[in-house]
Every structure is written in structure tokens, then in C-alpha cells.
Amino acid sequence: MSKLKSNQLLNSSKTDKLILFINKVFLSLIVVIVTVPLLYVLLGSFLQPHILLTRGISFDPAHWTLDGYIRIFQDGTIMRGFFNSIIYATGFTLVGITFTILAGYSLSVDELVGKKFFVIFFLFAMFFNGGMIPTYLVVRSLGLLNTPWAIILPGAVGVWNLILARTYFKAIPNELKEAARIDGASDFMIFWKIILPLAKPIIFVLALFAFIGQWNAYFQAMIYLDDRSLYPLQLVLREILIQNEVQPGMIADQLARAEMQRIAEMIKYSSIVIASLPLLIMYPFFQKYFEKGVMVGSLK
């Protein structure tokens, strides 16, 4: 009897081991599938893409070049987009997070008179919206078209973020505030000196997500900005990658057609690297915060 059972155990642990082995194989495969396209672009930005395509990774130094990057830096369109994107993403994050944290704190105060009204006010905005055209008309009638404010202001206060902030503040024990109040601290001092320092993690997480979201966004810029000098990086990239419009300044010289095409192709690869690398390099350092952020958002 006991022999049978131990046999069974042995058997099942054998299949278990097989399953675990298959699991490892699949996970390795997934890692390869995720990495290969990224590495391909990175290599393509240094190696000429047609060589990468026809000969694979070449170690012949003659095939390696910084041409794509040099053109990008010389032309300046991408660099200006890069700079604009920094401004938009920073502004969007600062405005949005300030508004969100302040309001989230107020809504976390239980005895706040009118709390129900405000909560409903915000929640309703989450489930219903006017849509693209009416929003566009509002931005237009405020005179924000073709200004950075059209990117920074609409959508800066996300209701979802507001709920996250409020939930976070609610978890801070009331005794802390009461103790400070007895010591004679004003409401503002309590918020500034006690609550804010405690809220650093949530502020950081929300700010990170806001910044990344805005850095990668193109749609608002596409509908609100006509002036090319205001274009954020993603719009410049869209012209190069999707609409195949390499800036004349980048390849204006008297080059043969084939040469021009080769360089246009390289510029695509290098511009992708320039646009994506900052986030991809930064992100491992923030990984634990992303996990925290997603957790705050999902488990009420």
C-alpha cells in the first residue's frame, strides 16, 4: 500500500519535472521573442540594415557606421522634438500630479462636507466623456491650439489616479494628524510636513506613469499642434517611420538615390533607438515602483 503511494508520488513528480522543464523552454523562447526585434533595431542603427538583412551580424568594421546618428544630430528636427517632449512630459506630470495629490488628499478626509458630491463629480467624468470632437472644440475655443498648454492641461487630472491617491491617503492613520493638531500645527502644515513625506511613494509612482505616458503619446499633439517647431518627438518619429518623410536637411546633399535610401533606412533605426533608449535604460531602476504602482491600482 505504502509502496504504491510512493510510486504514485514518484510518477507524478516525474511528470511535474517534465512540466517544469517545458515551462523553462517556453519562458526562454518568450525571452528570445521579446529581445530579438529590439536587438535587431539596435544593431540596424549601427550596421547598415541591408547588410544586417543579407549577411547577418557582420564583424567587418567597414560595415559599421554612425551615419544615422550623425545625420540626426546635424539636422536637429529630432533633437528639437526630444527637447519639446521633455518639456511636455515634465509640464504634464507636474501639473497633473500636483492637482491630483491635492484633491486626493481632500477627498480622503472623512468628515469633508460635500465629499459625496465631489466623488460623484469625478467618478462620472471617468465613465462618461464628450468624445474627441467636443473636447477639441473646447481646447480650440480656449485658444490653446498650437500652444504647449494643449498638451499639458487636458487630461492632466486622471480620475483613476485621483482614486489611487485618495485610497493611499486614507490608509494613513488619523492619529498622526490629530497629534499634530494638538501640538498646534495648522492644516496646511500637517499636509506639508506629515502627509506629503508619507505620500512620496505614491507621488513617485503616479509621476513616473504620467511622464512615460506623455513621453510616448502622439495623438493629442497630432490634433492640437500644427506648428512643426512645437512637435514632440513622437510626431517627428511618425513622419520618419510611418509617413516615410525623412527631413530634407538630413539627406539633402547630392547623394545617389540608392545611397539616400540607405541613409533614410538607417535614420529610421537610429531615431527609434534615440527615442526609446532613455526609457529602456531608466526603467530597470524603477521596476519595483512599477510593480507597486500596478498593485496600488488593481487591488482595492
Partner: protein
């Protein structure tokens, strides 16, 4: 006869008036004392009012022939004309089906992937290796939609790497981006490539909060690995899946507009034109404000109906609810 009533009135007023007054005063007092809380609320309230509520009022233009010069009150009312003209237009059916197909296929195919990933990651015993795998599979999430679309165009072009790989088996290159048949596959596969890893975070975290004693006890009782995954891990994930599923269904009508628009080419339009891209082209690019607003409103309402329905269904089934 009058006296007792008077007395009644008097006694009640004496009893209740001060109470009411006191409560009113304390409300006002509360606001005065805590005016700073209201100051804190003001910026968010104002900006949500301007950018969320005024556009809701602006939806009225869906029922008009709106002209910017004449404003909402000066424009002619046309009732449901724009809705009927959209619903009866020859391409309505195609656009509507494209939207529904794209998003429901994405949901059906894409939803289980992060769950599977999390279950797989959960079996990796060495914490260091697990961390590194996560580091890699989260990465594509941080790449912008424009870059993803650009990479798809490059990789899938007739002279691109995918076709040169396929060239080993086929004689003619496929121009993926101009074939309507490939659009949904490309859209959904690239979506999974980019998002599934990051979406698994929630599930991974839920699994790592599971009491390990459950697994130990099950193992002692002779449960195999698959049995433990089915009876413990999946059960742990169910409530999280329910909430995320409702949210996803609510988002069906708002599916990936930004990516769909970028991946559109003249020739794949029969599959890639969805309601939101249509709104953008007709409403903003062509300047047909009212028609665009009507189509957008139609889209929002269907989305809301789906969200509420999904919530009700899941509530019946599981007792989990979103709100």
C-alpha cells in the same frame, strides 16, 4: 382649539430649531475652518469641469448642424439626422464590425496570455532568474506606439527581415501592411508582444501573495503540479481576472485607436477602419464636427452599455463587481 396647536408648534420649534441651526452653522464653520481642503480641491475640479464636463455639454452639437461662427445656441437643430445618416451609410456595417472584431478578438486572444505568463513565472524557483525574465518581458511596454508601428512597417515590408525569412519557403514576398487580411493578426500579435508581459505584473503579485502552506498541504496530499495550479493558483487569480475582464469589456469600443490609425494604409482600410479613426477623419480632418460628434457619442454609449452589462453578468456569476 388654537392653543394646543400653538403649544405644539412652540414645543417642537424650541426643541428642533436650535439643533438645525447648530448643524447648519457647523457645516459652514467646517468649510470655513477647513477652507484649505477646498482650495486643494479647486484646481482638479476646475480642470475636470473644463476638459470633461464642458465637452459633455458640447455633445449637443451631435444633434445640430454646428457652425463655429454661430456657436451651440445659434446653430440649427437637426435631431437624430447625423445618427441616421451614419447608421444607414454604406460603410457603417463594415466600420462597426471592424471595431467589434478587432477588440473582441484582441480580448479573447490577448486576455489569457498574461495569466499564463504569470502562472509560468510563478514556477520559476530562483528569484534572480525570475527577476531577469520579468525585466526583459516588461520592456516592450515602455516603447511608444509610434515606434511599435514603425518597427512593424520596417519588419513586415516586402524587403524586410520577415519576408526574407519567409523567402526560404515562398517565392513572392507578402506585403503584409497592405493586405486587409493580415491587419487584425498584426495588430493583436504586436499588442501581445508589447503588453502581455507588463499586464502579467498584477497576476504575478497576486500569486506571490498566496500562502505557501496551501501548496505544501496539497503536495503532501498527493496533488500534482497541474492539480495545484488548477485548484490553488487559478482560484487565487479569479477575482483579479474578473475585475480586469469587466474593465476590458468596458474598453472594447475605445480599442487601440492610436495604434490602429498608425497601422492604417490605403489598402488595408477594409479591415483597419474603426469607429474612432472614422470619427477623427470625418470630424477633425474633414471638419464635419457634428457628424463626428454623433459617431463618437454612438461609440461612447455602446461602450457604456457593454461595461454595465459585463458588470452585471460577472456580478451574477461571481459576486465580484467593479463599483
Amino acid at each position: 382649539m388654537a392653543k394646543p396647536e400653538d403649544a405644539l408648534v412652540k414645543t417642537t420649534s424650541v426643541d428642533q430649531l436650535p439643533k438645525i441651526k447648530k448643524r447648519k452653522e457647523s457645516r459652514l464653520n467646517y468649510i470655513k475652518r477647513n477652507y484649505i481642503l477646498y482650495l486643494f480641491l479647486a484646481p482638479a475640479v476646475v480642470s475636470v469641469f473644463i476638459f470633461n464636463y464642458i465637452p459633455m455639454y458640447g455633445v449637443l452639437i451631435a444633434f445640430q448642424n454646428f457652425s463655429v461662427m454661430r456657436g451651440i445656441w445659434g446653430s440649427d437643430w437637426v435631431g437624430l439626422a447625423h445618427f441616421t445618416s451614419f447608421l444607414t451609410s454604406p460603410n457603417f456595417f463594415q466600420i462597426f464590425l471592424n471595431t467589434i472584431k478587432l477588440s473582441s478578438y484582441e480580448l479573447i486572444i490577448g486576455f489569457p496570455v498574461p495569466v499564463l505568463l504569470a502562472l509560468m513565472l510563478n514556477q520559476v524557483r530562483r528569484a534572480g532568474i525570475k527577476k531577469n525574465i520579468q525585466l526583459v518581458i516588461y520592456a516592450p511596454y515602455f516603447i511608444s506606439t509610434v515606434v511599435i508601428a514603425g518597427m512593424l512597417f520596417m519588419f513586415l515590408s516586402p524587403a524586410g527581415p520577415i519576408n526574407s525569412l519567409l523567402g526560404l519557403f515562398m517565392d513572392r514576398p507578402i506585403s503584409f501592411m497592405s493586405e486587409p487580411d493580415y491587419f487584425r493578426t498584426i495588430f493583436i500579435a504586436s499588442g501581445i508582444w508589447q503588453g502581455a508581459g507588463f499586464a502579467s505584473i498584477v497576476y504575478v503579485a497576486a500569486l506571490s501573495n498566496t500562502d505557501p502552506q496551501l501548496h505544501d498541504a496539497a503536495t503532501i496530499d498527493g496533488a500534482s503540479l497541474l492539480q495545484r495550479i488548477w485548484h490553488i493558483d487559478i482560484q487565487v487569480l479569479k477575482p483579479v481576472m474578473a475585475v480586469l475582464f469587466i474593465l476590458a469589456i468596458g474598453g472594447i469600443m475605445g480599442v487601440g485607436f492610436e495604434k490602429a490609425y498608425l497601422l492604417q494604409t490605403d489598402r488595408n482600410l477594409p479591415a483597419s477602419e474603426i469607429i474612432d479613426t472614422y470619427v477623427y477623419k470625418r470630424g477633425l480632418l474633414a471638419g464635419d464636427w457634428s457628424f463626428g460628434a454623433a459617431v463618437g457619442l454612438f461609440n461612447t454609449i455602446i461602450g457604456l452599455i457593454l461595461l454595465v452589462t459585463a458588470n452585471q453578468v460577472v456580478k451574477r456569476l461571481k459576486g465580484e463587481t467593479l463599483y
